[in-house]
Symmetry: D2
Subunit: 361 residues, 4 copies
């Protein structure tokens, strides 16, 4: 089993520890004949890459993806696309001090309980390093969806207690990558940056929220009952390192609303079915209705902070621990392309599944 495969038709199987020779994956079920957009892949990998700005970790991951199979003459063959990204930047000895201890709020302890063995270097399999493979697969998912016109746009809507109090319709989403915090509102972005820099200087970290909107969604994606579109989306998002919550459409706010406020009234305009509001977040009964899909994902503060903390070792002895290494202060800005990649994978999968829902022609 193992947990490293995502999707049913369009499927990524990923592998790799933080400090193994390489990370990588196999994308199977990608339709044949798609022109591979290498620029897209590299652009998305760059957006995820550490060291891209003053506020992200200065750890260098070159993140050059090498494709090993499944592509011919620049097009997908329909066969598995194998790819690797080498792990370079490893200083031996860096991890001697954490070899036998359990870092607070990391996966060290739970992996140890589960497997009786763990790769303590950089978090091993639990490291966010593996998200680079998601970016690669997410890029192919976007290529699958390309002809539908579907757009997936994520941005940072909260850092610490700084919240962007506008919804996606009030924002100029073309600004997102202009801000190193990936917040489309310049004023809020600036404050976020200051907060992150302040916490960084204190050796602390902060949580955040990433919001995502999907436009031009084809209707009919998602399956009834257990594989509802938002249920798979929730799984996809909560599988990202550090994610603690997911809400779509009206989200947790729905709890304090009444039905008369919350119901989205259908009407038609120019022969198109529309709704007056979109608290449903583009999904009804687990199936997309063509309206915008939007959701939020909460990310916890990065667990590696540059302060002395007490913990225990494998023999349950108390020890003190101050991390070395280079980590982000707030993961949200770099989570933006990962949220988009996972959303793309969910949607490409349902898009292909939907081709089997009816016998047409």
């Amino acid at each position: 089993m193992g947990g490293s495969t995502f999707g049913r038709i369009f499927r990524l199987t990923s592998f790799g520890e933080s400090h193994s020779k390489a990370i990588g994956g196999v994308i199977d079920g990608c339709p044949a004949g798609i022109k591979v957009d290498y620029d897209l892949i590299n652009k998305e990998l760059l957006r995820r890459m550490p060291g891209q700005s003053a506020i992200t970790t200065q750890r260098k991951e070159t993140d050059e993806v090498e494709f090993l199979s499944g592509i011919f003459d620049g097009k997908t063959l329909g066969t598995p696309i194998g790819f690797i990204i080498l792990n370079h930047d490893f200083i031996p000895g860096d991890y001697e001090n954490i070899k036998r201890l359990f870092r607070p709020s990391h996966a060290d302890y739970s992996y140890y309980l589960k497997y009786g063995i763990r790769d303590y270097r950089g978090g091993g399999r639990s490291s966010a390093r593996e998200t680079a493979s998601r970016i690669v697969a997410g890029s192919f998912a976007r290529m699958v969806l390309h002809q539908t016109g579907l757009q997936i746009i994520a941005y940072v809507s909260q850092v610490g207690n700084l919240m962007l109090n506008k919804n996606y319709e009030e924002l100029d989403l073309s600004n997102i990558d202009k801000s190193i915090c990936r917040c489309p509102d310049a004023e809020t972005s600036e404050k976020m940056q200051l907060l992150i820099e302040k916490l960084k200087s204190e050796g602390n970290s902060t949580g955040g929220v990433v919001s995502c909107v999907i436009r031009n969604t084809p209707a009919g994606m998602g399956e009834p009952v257990f594989d509802k579109l938002h249920a798979e989306m929730a799984k996809a998002m909560l599988s990202i390192n550090g994610a603690k919550g997911f809400e779509y459409g009206s989200g947790f706010r729905c709890a304090s609303m009444t039905g008369s406020e919350h119901n989205d009234i259908f009407y038609s305009e120019d022969d198109i079915v529309k709704t007056r509001t979109n608290h449903s977040g583009g999904i009804q009964g687990g199936i997309s209705n063509g309206a915008d899909i939007y959701f939020n994902v909460a990310f916890k503060p990065v667990s590696t902070i540059y302060q002395k903390q007490s913990t225990i070792d494998e023999q349950m002895n108390p020890v003190e621990y101050t991390p070395k290494g280079r980590h982000d202060t707030c993961i949200a800005p770099r989570a933006v392309p990962i949220v988009e990649a996972m959303a793309a994978m969910v949607l490409a999968d349902f898009y292909l599944i939907a081709k089997t829902n009816r016998i047409r022609d």
Copy 2:
């Protein structure tokens, strides 16, 4: 594909529309030799059943489950457990008025777009009627987990803007089923009931939040990367009708916390590893660490309200619509056993998967 199977080892495949002859399911992968606790099953079905109190719908679903296979001499055989629950309470003609229209915020329109055909009676497959099958499977999941001592307890923590501002450790959880709102705090419960009755009298509805805590969790449940315990839990919870959000541990609050606040410090006491806080919600790196798991699920206000609403029909003509039938005003109290059932299914599945993680002779 179809979306009606949940789980990998312990699996429920469910079927049934609101007004088909029966709903039911097949539980495959349930270990052999488990004594079937029929009282548990019936108790849980009763807790979900409509018409159980003044505030729930007066629609009568007898919800008597009939087991067809997989049980012999009162024990599970290891073979599939087939079961059905007959659909009785159907008044022909009840649905004539909604046959060709799309009810606001229901699944009518999205199913129609997806399949080109739909069973308009009572929501068809999108009806919450199918959750009775989850209750049955969840009861078997509890039997699988029984020997571990694991406990799953859910309760209502919000109705409308009435929030229970205590966490699970401050509450007497033995009170839950004494309250018809399933809120363990008597004072809040009473207010919730009044609010629900008021909205009911207005033909309106309200959202709510269900909280859940899992105690005595075995460590090592959950898989790395995509099948993290909380990711599967999120999927499970968001697959429940009307769910709009999921958060575990510190949840969305984590966004405004710093790492030094949020990190759970390990220490040992009486040769047991503990953490000073439990913002991790018992899950680190997607794998249970033995501490309490807790999470919240937001439910939207019930879409069927007894007020005149405008909508459109299949020909996009505007129509007016006032529902008949009997529906809950707030789904949260009856969602409590469903949340527990889905949690049990996720955990039983991971519990069995964990048996394959190591070779222990």
Copy 3:
């Protein structure tokens, strides 16, 4: 896990022991909008039914299928099709004598080792009774494939040492159901019937072979490497009770052929690609090429024979055993519709999967 689900997109999950209340299944992933051909279902169930002729078991299984969900106004909804077939014909006490012993070449012993518990009545889950569910699902699979013009035709080609030494192209396949042995060659059929009657009178049984041909197969069905069309077909056929071997195209004969004899030479005629021979059996590299698919399945002699046999009981004591009950002498004639049903399920699944191989529009 449990083993009771077949297929990826078009999926049957079956349940039921020989003497449980009912057997049945859930078909999920069947496309929406298909007119249900009840006559086909009933005809196929009748072809499988025991007691249909002088040479089959006189045990009566009424095999009336009751559909519980997934169908509306005579059409598939796209949602799971739940169905049951009640188990009637059970004489209590019939199985007292085999309760604690292991019948030779039955599944009694291996089930006991695996599960520590077994339903000894009529073979429990290992009974061929469950194949009725395959017939139901296979009928829906045929409906899915209907518009392609694909035809699946199976027949008995060997009973004991009586072999039909003609291939499918030399036979009049419209004769199959005219023969109670389901052998399309009248002369051979008559001999087969005599052999079966002779063995029956001796309380003995015999093996046989079922051959199957599939015409008008769409090209492109089957997936590379592990999920080759013939690999799935082999699994499907060997999952039928009593099956011991599978070969397709040239089959085991290929071992003594040379490449120059075996290669199927391509040519074109009237703008259609053809092959001079079809040793490939319509499948190359695991993927259908549009030519006829044909294969053979070997069935062992029925294990229940009406002769005294020695065996052991659960305490390993030697015991003697003479079966009661009513069983076929040769399973091949009644296996014919089951072979067809399983072939239909494999093909419908790959037909739907193939819709996701390329992005067309």
Copy 4:
């Protein structure tokens, strides 16, 4: 979907075309803490490798496997084991002459129909090159099974019309790898070698049969109904390139046997349950009973023969074609380790699944 994943718990996802940069795979679900036996892996890869003897192709595939993840301190981590094998031996231009034509009895045509694009170099994904990944995964499967004492031994039992007329119990199986034909009977092996050399000199090829026996099998492996042990084994074997038939136990011979001949009579000796015969091939009702499992797999003559053949190109024009390159004359000897590897994967998977069949202490 894509077809490149095998197994449920212990799973290989493989990738790679014959002439892509590399082939490789990801093994997920391998239990943690297993000491990696690199010697075993290399020995098995060597046994599969082309160019290993006078009768196999002189094409050089170095087949050096590089592990990228999932192993730490020489042990499995429980996380995915990613590995690659580089593709070296590629002479550009070698495939210009076959670029647009469909080689007889190859997958060129069916892939082209399915995907509309194909990698024509060396058969692309349909090349037997990918079986090296099966060898790697099969070696890990053997490590999983190691403590059970289970042994998997395959050998060549037929080449052309030369058949080894002894069953596995009459043979000295320690001789297998002493013969370059991998036939344990010296006399037959010599004849086989002469036949292969003769056909090779004629530019022709021949089919063959590989037999396999599995000893010390734990009881209880295999699942009821669809996932019977022999059904999965059949799928596994028929997924190997060139396989045309599978039979286990009495196999196709069962068709001409009577029940009284075929039934395996149980008795006990020294408190061990045994059977007088083993026509069941160690599997009853789809589940292993602890007796030896044995089966045969038929392989077709290699399709690439060094004779001029006529065929057509993509425009359906007739063309003549004489292959270049280096191919085996008979695939059976090199198929031996692949048959073993696939058997190991099936068994490791069921071994792990069986851990979830019962709740024990």
